[in-house]
Amino acid sequence: MEPLIQLKNITKVYEIGGPAMGRLGRLRGGAHPGLSVTALKQLSLDFHRGEFTAIAGPSGSGKSTLLNIIGTIDSPTRGEVHYEGRKVSSLREELLADFRLRSLGFVFQAYNLISVLTAVENVEYVLALQGIGREERAQRAREALRRVGVEAQADRRPDLLSGGQQQRVAVARAIVHRPMVVLADEPTANLDSKTAEALLALMLDLNEEHGVTFLFSSHDPRVLSRAKRVIQIHDGCVEGEEDRE
């Protein structure tokens, strides 16, 4: 079966200090083009539909970079990202944005809801960007909020919601348009253990009951214990992989 996502020889190098520092280094004799850090080294991975996969590793191991590259919000220095056999890593930003809009959902560590929109408006926004009509998107957004258990808070702005509620709204926003995959970067890191447990249960439920594919990063052993597949990353390389299904 063709993988949903294929990463081929992904390398990511960050220029520390940005291009200006690089230029400055070259001006000073050409031998010091600025500092660079290799976050991912020739990494190749496949992911399949319906997975509930955790990317594990200590801080600075490259988890977030990997998720960003899978999510096409960052580009690899070398290598290719394929979705259902289609190479997306070389698409123009406008086309990439459209791809993300229709195919991906994101959950961030810091929730990252849009502060001037209410919970339901945040969820609706993805549908609005897709050009879906007002009635349908309102109905689908409320349904998504109901599914994650925060329908009662639909009309509140993020600053009036608890961390757990905000993250649930973020999950609702990530699934409302039925994406191919939901990418979650340390989704429980800012939550207390009880709320984190509840959120994880919700994600598992969405995966098992509704077939939503989840790729998430974490270094929390309790979270990792719930994953069906765990990929261990260290210094930008795959250190190990465990399939629990």
């Binding site: 960003n68 919000i73 406008e94 993300r100 990252n112 849009i114 001037v116």
Partner: protein, 408 residues
């Protein structure tokens, strides 16, 4: 434009209420001040033109072809009757009169003074020019055309009053010295030193007799039906008068210094306009840049969930457009309110006294709307606002989603 874009842009504008209100107020205050300035200058210009054309120059003049100084036409037009027939048949002409305008002297028992002597048509003059409005005592020239009316300052200098005798003198066309004894029938007070102290009005019959003229005149003063189509009227008259030894000039050619003043004031207004737009655009740019730096992370989120660079650009441009439209609307409303107030109450302008030296000019100005310029200023504020949104819009749209999301 999608409702999602409008909703988010609108909410973003009000994200920091106080900052937005300060920006709006600065745009509005700038525009309102500009509108007031435009209205004031327009009113001054309008009054200058009205007074200049109304009291002496008229809209159009017909002068002898070789007349060099249009203000003091010292050459004579032959066959004025033939010209009158053409004027009567020209639809653009509303009313006209023939005049003899010469320099001469007026003397009383006590004093003498050099004057510009205007020989006017007693019956037509009040319809062509407005000097009669400034008559303070006595009456205009009677139907028989006898008498003289003069300004209060000249009357005071000469020590004459209504009914007193004065002698008019001038160097006649035949080389003799002409003299006429007349009684003062009226005294006017226009507020203008030039008019009140050095111009006197007699009938054209008296002036012609004094200058030993036959039927000749120095000029025809014409009021046209549509002052906005002045050049067309002049061209039409010139066409009809072709072959005659005359030239047709508009008030802009006679009172060219007024055109200079108008152009100078307009240039000043344009500079003020640019300064205000610069302030407006810097204000908006500042607001948008501050808002942009506060929202870098949110741009990352928007881009991650599928908003492309074009969406981000349009959103920021819309935000700047909203700021410009709201500020512009506030400014237009405030500016119009100020103009309306001074349109009713009048605005005392000290410069009226200085302009009044040269021509009758009211010191209390009742402001007029200069809609063309007002609308242009409002539209320019909107355009400037949108343009000042361009740098932040392009800057935000070039952000990388992952980098934006890392922004603290």
């Amino acid at each position: 434009m999608s409702s999602a874009l409008i909703l988010l842009a609108w909410r973003n504008v009000w994200r920091n209420r106080r900052r937005t209100l300060i920006t709006l107020l600065s745009i509005a205050a700038g525009l309102a001040a500009l509108l007031f300035g435009q209205s004031l200058v327009y009113t001054i210009q309008y009054q200058l033109v009205e007074k200049a054309t109304g009291v002496h120059t008229g809209h159009i003049q017909i002068l002898e072809a070789k007349t060099a100084d249009f203000k003091f036409p010292d050459r004579y037009i032959p066959d004025p009757g033939g010209i009158e027939k053409i004027l009567d048949a020209t639809p653009e002409v509303a009313v006209y009169e023939r005049r003899v305008v010469v320099t001469g002297m007026i003397s009383s028992k006590k004093e003498a003074a050099g004057v510009l002597l205007c020989g006017v048509d007693p019956e037509r003059d009040p319809r062509v020019l407005q000097m009669s409005r400034y008559l303070k005592r006595g009456r205009l020239l009677g139907p028989d055309g006898e008498g003289v009316y003069l300004g209060d300052k000249l009357a005071a200098k000469l020590g004459v009053n209504l009914g007193d005798e004065v002698v008019l003198m001038g160097s006649a066309r035949d080389g003799s010295m002409g003299a006429e004894l007349q009684r003062v029938t009226g005294i006017f007070s226009s507020g203008s030193q030039t008019f009140d102290a050095s111009i006197i009005y007699v009938s054209i019959k008296t002036a012609s007799r004094l200058m030993a003229l036959g039927d000749e005149v120095n000029d025809f003063v014409i009021r046209v039906r549509d002052p906005m189509r002045l050049d067309e009227a002049r061209d039409e008259l010139a066409r009809r008068l072709r072959g005659r030894p005359v030239r047709v000039v508009t008030w802009e050619q006679v009172d060219f210094e007024l055109v200079g003043i108008r152009d100078y004031q307009n240039a000043l207004l344009d500079i003020v306009l640019c300064v205000i737009f610069l302030i407006v655009s810097l204000g908006i740019l500042n607001t948008l840049l501050m808002s942009l730096f506060e929202r870098v992370r949110e741009f990352g989120v928007l881009m991650a969930i599928g908003a492309g660079p074009r969406f981000i650009r349009r959103m920021i441009l819309l935000e700047s457009g909203i700021l410009g439209a709201l500020g512009g609307a506030l400014g237009l409303a405030a500016g119009c309110a100020i103009i309306l107030y001074y349109r009713k109450a009048g605005f005392v302008l000290p410069v009226g006294e200085s302009i009044g030296f040269f021509m009758p000019f009211d010191s209390v100005l009742f402001l007029r709307f200069d809609w063309g310029r007002h609308v242009t200023a409002g539209a320019a504020v909107l355009l400037t606002s949108v343009l000042s949104g361009l740098p932040p819009a392009f800057r935000a749209s070039r952000m990388k989603p992952a980098e934006s999301l890392r922004h603290i």
